[in-house]
Symmetry: C2
Subunit: 246 residues, 2 copies
C-alpha cells in the first residue's frame, strides 16, 4: 500500500521542491521527517516540482513505505510528520492509495494561482504572497489576451530552460481573473505546465496590462515560438500551486 | 507642520511596537529610517502600542520633523522611509497634520481583527496570521457571549499587567464575527483598549466556544472583576491592528 499526502508550504526560504546539493529544499525536509517517522529512508514524488520561492496550498506527494511500517494508518503520517517538519511546511491530509500510484504521472491536472495587488505600497501582511502592480493596469486587455491561452498549444515561448525534456505541448483548461477591490487573482488550470510557464504567462500578460505589448499579438506566442518572444518571468513569491487533480 | 503616517507591519519578529533596551521593536526601526531621511533624530508616537508578535494593517503614527526639513512633501516620507525599512514594515501613506497632532491622544477609536481557522491542520500560507482552532467550536455561543461586550464597561478582567495606568473603563462600539467557510474573523471597534484586552477577550470567548465556560457567565466579567476570572490570552500572531479612527 502506498500513501498520498496533501502538502502546503511557504516557498519563501526554500530553493524549490526538488532535492539538490548545497540548497535547502522542501523535498529534503519532507523526506527527512517521513524517514524519522518510518524508521527507514523514505523517498517521495511530488505532482509539481515547484521552483525556488513558489508556494503550495495543495501539493500532492506519493511514497511507498518500506516493509517495517506496512500498516500505519494514514492519519499517523499527518501527525507524526508535522511534529518533525519546520513550521513553514505542513502535511494537511494523507490517504492510502494503490501501490502503483505515482503523484506526478497519475495527475490529470493542476491549478495554479498568481496573486497581485494594484496599489502604491504593498502591506507586509500580503507581501510574502502577492506581487504589487501598478494601479493603472488595464485588466480588460489582460483578460482578452488570456482567452487565447485556453486549449492545446505549444507553450515553448513561456518555458524556462532546465525543465522536463519532451514535447512542449500542453492543454490549458481554464483561465480566470478574479478582481476584488485592489486584489487580483489569476487562476489557471491545465493538464500540465512547462517549467516557469505560469510565471512567464503572468509576466507577459502584465506587459499587455501596462500597454507595453498589444493584446492582439498575444495569441501568436502560442505556437512554435521561442522563449525570447514572450515577456519577463513574474516573481516566484506571487505563485501558489493550489491543487492537483486525479 | 507635523505628519501622520499609516504603517503596516508583520509583528512576527518584533518585540512589539514600543522601543525597549535589548530588543528589536517596530518603533526603533521606524525612527531609524525616518531619522536617516530627515538627517536628524526623529521621535514618533503610535496610536496603538501593539504587543510582541501583534501585526498592524493600519497603525497610525505621528511625528514632528525638526527645523532642517520643514517642507518635505508627505509622499517623500513614504518613499524615502520605505527604501530604508526592513521588508516587514511599510509606510502605506503619509499626510500633513496640525503641529499639535498626537496619534495616540487624538485617536477616537481603533479596530482590531483576530483571525481564526477551524481545521485539523493549518496551512503555512495562513499560519503567520491565523490561530488554528477546533472545528467543533460553537460559534453561536461565542456570538451570544460577545454581545455583552458592547457598551461602556470595566475591562479589568481582560487586562494584562504592564499597561497604561488609569481607569480600566473603555467603550466597545461594535463586535462582529465573520464566518467564511473554515475561516473566522473577530472584529472589535472601541474607543480604547487595555493592554492584552483583545487577546484576553478572544481567549475567553474560545473557552465559551469549546464548552469550557458558559456564555451566561460572560457578562459578569465586564464589571469590577480581576484578571484571574477571565480566560487565557489568545496568541499574538492572530491579532492585527486594522485601523485607527480620528
Amino acid at each position: 500500500m502506498a500513501y498520498r499526502l496533501i502538502l502546503s508550504y511557504r516557498g519563501t526560504r526554500y530553493s524549490g521542491w526538488q532535492r539538490q546539493p548545497n540548497a535547502i529544499t522542501v523535498q529534503e525536509k519532507l523526506e527527512e521527517a517521513l524517514s524519522r517517522v518510518a524508521g527507514e529512508r523514505v523517498k517521495v514524488v511530488a505532482a509539481g516540482r515547484t521552483d525556488r520561492g513558489v508556494h503550495a496550498a495543495g501539493q500532492a506527494v506519493s511514497f511507498l513505505p518500506g516493509p517495517r511500517l506496512p500498516d500505519l494508518p494514514a492519519r499517523a503520517w499527518v501527525h507524526g510528520t508535522n511534529r518533525l517538519l519546520p513550521e513553514d511546511i505542513r502535511v494537511l491530509a494523507a490517504e492510502e492509495v494503490e501501490a502503483g500510484f505515482h503523484a506526478r504521472r497519475d495527475a490529470r491536472g493542476k491549478e495554479y494561482r498568481y496573486r497581485l495587488r494594484r496599489c502604491a505600497v504593498l502591506s507586509p501582511l500580503e507581501s510574502l504572497f502577492v506581487l504589487q502592480v501598478d494601479p493603472a493596469l488595464d485588466l480588460n486587455a489582460m483578460r482578452l489576451a488570456s482567452e487565447a491561452l485556453v486549449g492545446r498549444h505549444d507553450f515553448s515561448a513561456f518555458a524556462l530552460s532546465g525543465g522536463v525534456p519532451g514535447p512542449p505541448v500542453r492543454t490549458v483548461e481554464r483561465v480566470v481573473w478574479h478582481e476584488d477591490g485592489e486584489s487580483l487573482n489569476f487562476l489557471i488550470v491545465g493538464n500540465g505546465f512547462l517549467r516557469g510557464m505560469v510565471r512567464s504567462i503572468v509576466g507577459t500578460l502584465l506587459e499587455v496590462g501596462l500597454g507595453r505589448r498589444s493584446a492582439d499579438g498575444f495569441p501568436a506566442l502560442l505556437q512554435d515560438s521561442s522563449r525570447g518572444e514572450a515577456g519577463r518571468t513574474a516573481p516566484a513569491h506571487g505563485l501558489t500551486l493550489e491543487r492537483v487533480f486525479y
